[in-house]
């Protein structure tokens, strides 16, 4: 199966790979996995006092589509408020990356990782 140019670009030059301090009270960590393909995805956000995501990092073990989905997700999240980030849909990621139907679940995983990171941050701040 051929990957789209955008997937290849994110796969070869992933944006924002790395790690933020999970113990930092301003950092939210989302950890999700897809058992059928064994993918593991960690997505982290650092939120400033205005409630804006000022940094986002990810680390994904999985296929090119999973890496591209999480890479794009971190790119889109930066500079957004938590509410805006939570509104990112997997369909938007899939469309931007031109994912084929069999790889849609990779974008679902990325959306779930975004939500998990935001939830973790809110839990830390007692907002839930």
């Amino acid at each position: 199966m051929a990957y789209s140019d955008k997937v290849i670009d994110h796969y070869e030059n992933p944006r924002n790979v790395g790690k933020l301090d999970a113990n930092d009270p301003n950092v939210g960590t989302g950890m999700v996995g897809a058992p059928a393909c064994g993918d593991v995805m960690r997505l982290q956000i650092k939120v400033n006092e205005q409630g804006v995501i000022e940094d986002a990092k990810f680390k994904t073990y999985g296929c090119g589509s999973a890496i591209a989905s999480s890479s794009l997700a971190t790119e889109w999240m930066k500079g957004k408020t938590l509410e805006e980030a939570e509104a990112i849909k997997n369909t938007q990621l899939a469309e931007e990356l031109a994912l084929p139907p069999v790889k849609i679940h990779c974008s679902v995983l990325a959306e779930d990782a975004i939500k998990a990171a935001v939830r973790d941050y809110k839990q830390k701040k007692g907002l839930l």
């Binding site: 950890m31 059928a36 998990a116």
Partner: protein, 173 residues
């Protein structure tokens, strides 16, 4: 229900604990009996039937010989089948998976064959432990949630074991 129970095909009761050597032997026996070559001169209907049985037998064998597939199948017999594509949120376990993947990456970079062997042994140990825990709880409806979590973990370790095999082959060359 169109197809017979995978376990019944082998004359077994549904159970997680399966003697794999015995299963393989029984499979070879049964496969011989329905092998298409034996029906080369049979009627078209008989040929088609043999082909169907052969396919069913293969599917059953492939399902039962793999621990995670067997576990998923058992859960589908005793309740609703788990969705194929799902997002798992099992933070502690996933964090460990992340560490193991990192470790494997380092072993790959350093081409450390002894390290890979030790890693493989540790992984096997973790798989055995999961298998034991699943065998204890899969048949207890009150522990369904636990059984589902365990089978998801088994799937991840199965994929990781696959990665290890690929790495071994690459380092062997």
């Amino acid at each position: 229900m169109g197809s017979p129970c995978h376990f019944a095909l082998f004359g077994l009761q549904p159970d997680f604990r399966v003697d794999l050597a015995q299963l393989a032997a029984r499979y070879r026996e049964l496969a011989k009996a329905v092998h298409p070559d034996r029906f080369a001169h049979a009627s078209e209907r008989e040929q088609r039937l043999a082909l169907e049985q052969s396919a069913q037998l293969n599917e059953a064998y492939q399902t039962l010989r793999s621990a995670p597939r067997r576990a998923l199948y058992l859960l589908s017999l005793s309740g609703e089948a788990l969705p194929l594509e799902a997002t798992v949120q099992d933070p502690e376990f996933l964090l460990q998976q992340m560490h193991w993947r990192e470790e494997l990456e380092e072993l790959q970079d350093s081409a450390d064959l002894d390290g890979v062997a030790a890693f493989k042994q540790r992984l096997k140990g973790a798989q055995n432990e999961l298998d034991e825990r699943f065998a204890e709880c899969w048949n207890d409806p009150a522990r369904r949630e636990e059984a589902e979590r365990l089978v998801r973990r088994m799937q991840f370790l199965d994929k990781l074991a696959h990665e290890v095999r690929i790495l071994e082959e690459r380092l062997d060359d």
